[in-house]
Amino acid sequence: MSLILSIVVDGVAYGMILFMISVGLSITMGLMRIINLAHGGFALLGGAAVHLLTTRLDVAFIPAFLVAVLAVVLVSVLLERLLYRHIYGFNELGQVLATIGIVFIMIATVNLFLGSTILPLGAPAIFTTPIDLGFRTLPFHRLVVIISGLLVLAGLWLLMEKTRFGIYLRAAVDNRIAAASLGINTPLVYLVAFATGAGLAAVGGILGAELLPIEAYYPLRYMVLFLIVVSVGGLGSISGSFLASISLGILDTAGRYLLPGIGTIFFFVAIVVLLALRPNGLMGKAQ
């Protein structure tokens, strides 16, 4: 019994981290349909900024976190204006090549200034304190991640389903020309959506750093993980990404508890089977 509870608790905690680091991608790649391989790059920039602020300039974690996310949003606005605006119009291969190029530039920049070793974030001591759940302990930061994950999920749902911006975005993605002719400022809608995606990447990178530590090669090391979550969840579906993250988290954790030797194979076989049965993902609509 306590084994099953442990699998669920660890699985949900891990799944929530997966959700946090890939939710930004389900906006840019899922909703806006750009194959944005540079997603992890924004997470890296956010993490690197927190590293600089907390370890070199002695800023406290929470202000550093806010400044870093804001900085990444600013960078993403600049990049959108200068680069991504053109990338939207590329075909799929063009988007892959352009965004992987952006990743390489981001990696090289971080590598040049901060080196290729792990960049620790000066997280508050309470983050690492184990919290007693009665039948076992759980590190406090996992609770923080679970709660922030739920907040992000709720916030995005409200934004996409209940606000005018959400309607504009869905309209612009479905038919850009028709949306523009109805008077929707589509470039602005895209800019805001892109910056939100990048900002969430930074949030996920920073909060997930306890598990997926920040280092220069972060965007490439975990790229497959982000892409799996979005494709299993189904393009364009935030709740699908959420469901995918939690189930993948539980699946992977169960594999580690029960079959540690073949855990990874188990994980990937399950994904292959799922995508064979539902090529558009858990919540994806048929194209």
Binding site: I7, Y14, S116, T117, P213, A216, Y217, L225, Y257, G263
Partner: protein
Amino acid sequence: MTFSKSTLYLVASAAFFVTGTLAQAETIKVGVIATFSGPNAIWGKQFREAIDVYVAQHGDEVGGHKIQFIYKDVGGPNADASKAAALELLVRDGVKYLAGFDFTPNAVAVAPLTKQAKVPAVIFNAATSSINKQSDFFLRTSFTLTQLAQPAAEWAAKNGSKKVVTAVSDYNPGIDAETAFSASFEKDGGAVLEKIRMPLQTNDFAPFMQRIKSSGADTVFTFLPVGPATFAFTKAYNENGLKAAGVSFLGGGETDETTLDALGDQATGLVTAYHYSDVHDSALNKSFVAKLQELHPGSRANMASIGAYDGAELIYRMIKAAGSDGTKAIEAAKGMEWESPRGPVKMDPVSRTVVQNVYLRRVEKGADGKLVNREFATVPNVPDLGFNP
């Protein structure tokens, strides 16, 4: 393809014989094959900086010969690139010694070339015991996994550990460490409750920590590749309350100096068995570390640095004894003894891996607030226990 390759080998060996017979003073080139770019670039950086220190301390001339180091980047574990780099160094640059080799496949790939060209290859890191069997021209100044895991097991058995869980990354070095540790620990009367092999791509170690905790073990012995996995593993060890539950940590290279500060205060108290710490208490080590700081401010010496530093020492000694004659150099190297910044070392004539002290160390805060591996017990003169010729 095979034709052109064997032709190149012939050229390589021919080039050797032509220049090798001239025993006068000459410039002797040493080719260093390592990773200078990509996620593993730290290896090449540590190697090069340590060689810089050695050359700064000992000059670039020995036995009337001028020594020149040539660096070749292979970008990571890449057997083909390593072989190509070695071939180019031997044929085009005419190197008389090869060195470097951060990863096992990169070392194994050059074994046939070293035999054909009769050029000694000094391994600064790659730690799989069986590499040295592949060519008589391999010499190793790093360590092997058995060399560390067995003393760790003996020490644990003597110091109160009764029930151990081994948790290693599921790849060759991890399995070598697991095998060596368990065999020795069980021989000393301890019990190995569980042998966990963790997938190399693991990010979340919490499930393994729960398993270890519920197994009732008093010690966890671990081996993981240095990098994100180590970081996440040691974090998970603390955060899941294993320390509080009385499960001691016994590792190897997890607290490597270049990543130790990233682990942060939670690393304090971790015990590891290893062959080098940058705070090893000797005058030689202090001058090595000081010179490194002077030439490359901000760098920290680690096991890669010491492998390269002693590798340079060994190459200088071989050149002094045999100039550019590879076969003679290997014979001269066998049994060589010297004082290294890590302590006394001796080149084992059979395994051609250094015999060295293995230290038990505990992570603590150093004088300048940086975390250090403080040595507190020594297992003297350990050979490569895993070598069977």
